[in-house]
């Protein structure tokens, strides 16, 4: 084997002021041209590991580093981050914060300028890299006017302009909508074919990890397992155990007792043909009928929209003729690309936005007659980023904010806080500092603080973004629990598997209109319409569609299979 490009030996790192090691004894060699995906639960040390490769650790983050990281023979300890920048490029998750310029061209020029590359060469690199990521037409635009996906592409171009040998990307697509994700993945697919570039990506999307040469699983700062992508992805048990989302198709085959596990929909379909299993039509119809009955029970409309239109400015209608009903006890998902109007629609339900024309009725009354403050008692809205609302010193005060505003008695406030914290599983955390909690903990505090107002409807804007698989599951299980206890739930999300497993009904939005609606199963059976809205159903659903039936998750399908030989 050739000399490794990146060589990590006995790496240990402890952040200043913390007891435990963020990284604990990592040994890893990465060879030239390799594409390595690193996966693991939150707080596992993935980002910390990424930051050691270009020297942000130990130079930028304070802490204690043992062991060595060598990139192309350069020890990160002896080179500043800026010096390492020539050979290691770094793309971050937050696409807002990594752009410095007011012009796309100059953004790409920034890196080469720092290395005193001459003007003509910078010009060539700008052309080459903007062309590579497909932003050529935007070269004179200010980055602030680009979409999230375009910003992330620009960030990639600006790093590539330094001609790095190693490119590290720390969750480059976590904050993006599906269509932008596809755009960024398309670039990484091209990048990984270049054999002069070593690609290291930290990723949550298991379906994308299929393209990697190797996958490394990290937990508690340790490299639990590393190996060829297919081998790791077939190890369903280990992935579940680590809190990393397993692929649905191998999961299904494993549950069925198969030993040779197919990974993609294509492979799954072929493997299924060979087994002699059959999908029981009666069992499937029973499943559909049961679902239908459950939805038919919901008949008390809580939120109604009639020909709702909304415009932020004169040119574009953000919402264009929306008519819909949401019933008491519903669990509804609203999906679509950024800019399709999902959030604009949701903000009408609690009166943050008022219709330009048409009506929104909550409990039969138009929202303009009620106002945000009053509607807040009926409709609670949890924003995407919990850090946009948390401000108190203790969890108790944070959750008590709304009941106190509504001038409830001390006892009543206490009771409401207790109930809300119990509902989100944070009983006993009353006196903790909310800022010291993990992201999922803060997310729960945010939900609790809305629940304390005891709303009938709970709107959650991307409740699972930025959480790992295990956290996403426990978050959504909690939401389902609230729904079963009588709350009406509306959630906006980009995570299609969350929709498949948790929503009862789905609204698909595109360009301010609802293009598809119905029970989750019926919506997911419309493969083509979803593709047209650039929404990809999870691999597993795609696989079951190819078999002529729509199943939303493996357990459900297993029950409908007959002809299994023991």
């Amino acid at each position: 084997m050739a000399e490794p490009i990146v060589s990590i030996r006995d790496l240990q790192f402890r952040y200043r002021g913390q007891k435990g090691h963020a990284l604990d004894g990592i040994n890893l060699d990465i060879s030239r041209g390799e594409f390595l995906v690193i996966m693991g639960p939150s707080e596992a040390g993935k980002s910390t590991l990424a930051a050691t490769i270009n020297g942000l650790i130990p130079h930028f983050q304070n802490g204690k580093l043992n062991g060595t990281v060598t990139v192309m023979g350069r020890n990160t300890r002896d080179n500043t981050v800026a010096q390492m920048a020539e050979i290691v490029g770094m793309v971050f998750q937050d696409f807002e914060a990594q752009l410095f310029s007011t012009n796309v061209e100059l953004e790409v020029a920034f890196g080469p300028e720092n290395f005193a590359v001459d003007r003509e060469e910078i010009g060539r690199r700008i052309n080459e890299n903007l062309d590579y990521v497909g932003l050529d037409a935007y070269r004179h635009r200010p980055p602030s006017t680009l979409s999230g996906g375009q910003k992330q592409k620009l960030a990639i171009a600006s790093v590539l302009a330094l001609k790095p040998t190693v490119l590290v990307m720390d969750e480059p697509t976590t904050d993006l909508d599906p269509i932008s994700k596809i755009g960024v993945f398309e670039i990484t697919h091209r990048l990984c074919k270049r054999d002069d570039l070593t690609l290291i990506i930290i990723e949550h999307e298991t379906e994308e990890a299929l393209f990697a040469d190797r996958i490394g699983l990290i937990k508690d700062g340790k490299l639990v397992k590393i190996g060829p992508a297919r081998e790791i992805l077939a190890d369903i048990n280990l992935m579940e155990e680590l809190g990393v989302m397993p692929l649905g198709i191998p999961k299904f085959f494993k549950q069925m007792g198969a030993t040779n596990l197919p990974l993609t929909p294509e492979e799954g379909w072929e493997a299924f043909q060979k087994t002699g299993w059959k999908i029981s039509e009666t069992a499937y119809q029973a499943l559909v009928a049961k679902e239908h009955d459950q939805l038919a029970k919901l008949d008390q409309p809580l939120i109604q929209c009639h020909d709702l239109e909304y415009s932020y400015n004169k040119e574009v209608k953000a919402l264009d003729g929306i008519s819909m009903e949401i019933f008491k006890g519903d669990m509804v998902a609203i999906v679509g690309q950024n800019g399709s109007g999902k959030t604009t629609l949701a903000k009408h339900f609690n009166g943050l936005l008022m219709p330009t024309s048409g009506d929104v009725l909550v409990n039969g009354l138009p929202t303009p007659d009620q106002g945000v403050f009053k509607l807040g008692q009926t409709v609670g809205y949890v924003f995407q980023n919990p850090d946009h609302q948390i401000f108190s010193e203790t969890v108790f005060d944070e959750v008590a904010f709304n009941p106190r505003l509504r001038k409830l008695s001390v006892d009543e406030v206490k009771k409401r806080v207790e109930d809300a914290l119990a509902a989100v599983g944070l009983t006993g955390f009353e006196q903790q500092d909310p800022f010291a909690l993990t992201k999922s903990g803060r997310q729960r505090v945010a939900v609790a603080s809305i629940l304390a107002a005891q709303p009938e409807v709970l709107i959650l804007d991307e409740p699972t973004t930025g959480l790992d698989y295990a956290e996403q599951r426990s978050m959504m299980n909690m939401v389902r629990n609230l729904n079963e206890n009588g709350s009406t739930i509306i959630f906006v999300t980009h995570h299609m598997w969350v929709v498949a497993e948790y929503a009862h009904r789905v609204f698909v939005m595109k360009e301010g209109k609802i293009i598809l609606e119905g029970s989750t199963r019926s919506v997911f059976s419309h493969d083509e319409e979803l593709q047209a809205a650039s929404l990809r159903p999870p691999h597993f659903v795609e696989f079951s569609n190819r078999l002529g039936h729509t199943f939303l998750y493996p357990e459900e399908m297993k029950k409908c299979i007959e002809g299994v030989q023991d």
């Binding site: 930051a51 942000l56 130079h59 930028f60 500043t80 981050v81 800026a82 010096q83 920048a85 020539e86 290691v88 490029g89 770094m90 971050f92 937050d94 807002e96 914060a97 990594q98 410095f100 310029s101 007011t102 012009n103 061209e105 100059l106 020029a109 920034f110 890196g111 080469p112 300028e113 720092n114 290395f115 005193a116 590359v117 003007r119 910078i122 010009g123 004179h140 200010p142 602030s144 600006s158 330094l162 609690n350 945000v372 807040g376 609670g380 809205y381 924003f383 980023n385 850090d387 946009h388 609302q389 948390i390 401000f391 904010f401 709304n402 505003l405 509504r406 800022f435 809305i450 107002a453």
Partner: protein, 260 residues
């Protein structure tokens, strides 16, 4: 919300070198400061209005019209408190103090307008590069352009945060001053925290792109003084010199003005 002030146009002023524009800005400031009498400011005022019209920056000035009106009125009144004169008019006003306050107000409005022209016609990077070429250290220039760059980011997160808190029942519009100020706490804490977080990543990204890797850096933007720049500069300098001579000869003062 659009926090960007630069207007993407191609006027005569837009095409000037940023160094020329910075010099014109500074020199017109000096030229106005030479005189107490508002009449002597009129030539500069005329030139600035001309620039406003040519560059189309009037649009940006209109965006801050409320602030301008409030400032003009309060300045017209307040400056009277800092000066007196021999020809008493009414209460604390005298002819001289009135002239003086008109001049001060004109100074403020003209400088805001001149600054607006500079920002509206010059890209952030060009402006900073211009300053660097005129002798400012690169890091200082970068700090300035970064602070301009962060304005839209912080504005938009502030907007989201205020919506989030309003949905939780925060009502910013009622109560007396102290009650209202206390209500801003739920806004300020998240705004600061998100700003700190953003700047932290910003700094990491900056390091990762080799900020300060070499003693000297190159610039992709090229500044070029053209014929028009030299003409404009020559005119500005002649205008300046004439103003200085007039001022030394004693013109442009307000006789009988008493400073407090």
């Amino acid at each position: 919300m659009d926090a960007e002030l630069y207007l993407d146009k191609n006027s005569f002023i837009h095409r000037l070198d940023p160094r020329t524009k910075i010099m014109v800005f500074l020199l017109s400031f000096v030229a106005i400061l030479l005189f107490q009498n508002p009449l002597f400011m009129l030539p500069v005022a005329f030139l600035i209005i001309l620039q406003l019209v040519i560059s189309g920056s009037l649009k940006n000035l209109l965006r801050i019209r409320y602030i301008l009106v409030v400032m003009t009125i309060s300045s017209l009144i307040l400056w009277n408190l800092f000066a007196g004169g021999v020809t008493h008019l009414w209460w604390f006003l005298s002819v001289q103090s009135l002239e003086y306050s008109i001049a001060r107000t004109l100074l403020i409005v003209l400088m805001i307008s001149a600054g607006m022209i500079l920002i509206s016609t010059t890209r952030n990077e060009e402006l900073v590069l211009g300053m660097i070429r005129l002798g400012m250290p690169y890091r200082v220039g970068f700090a300035i352009s970064t602070s301009i760059r962060l304005v839209p980011t912080i504005t938009s997160s502030t907007l989201t945060i205020s919506q989030a808190q309003r949905s939780r029942g925060l009502d910013l519009d009622s109560g007396n001053l102290i009650v209202r100020l206390r209500k801003f706490l739920p806004l300020l804490v998240p705004v600061f925290i998100s700003a700190i977080r953003t700047t932290n990543i910003f700094a990491m990204a900056l390091e990762s792109k080799g900020f300060g890797a070499r003693e000297k850096r190159s610039y992709y933007l090229k500044l070029e003084m053209k014929k028009a720049d030299y003409w404009v500069l020559a005119f500005t300098i002649i205008f300046m010199l004439a103003s200085i001579i007039l001022s030394i000869l004693g013109y442009g003062q307000i006789p009988g003005l008493i400073h407090f």
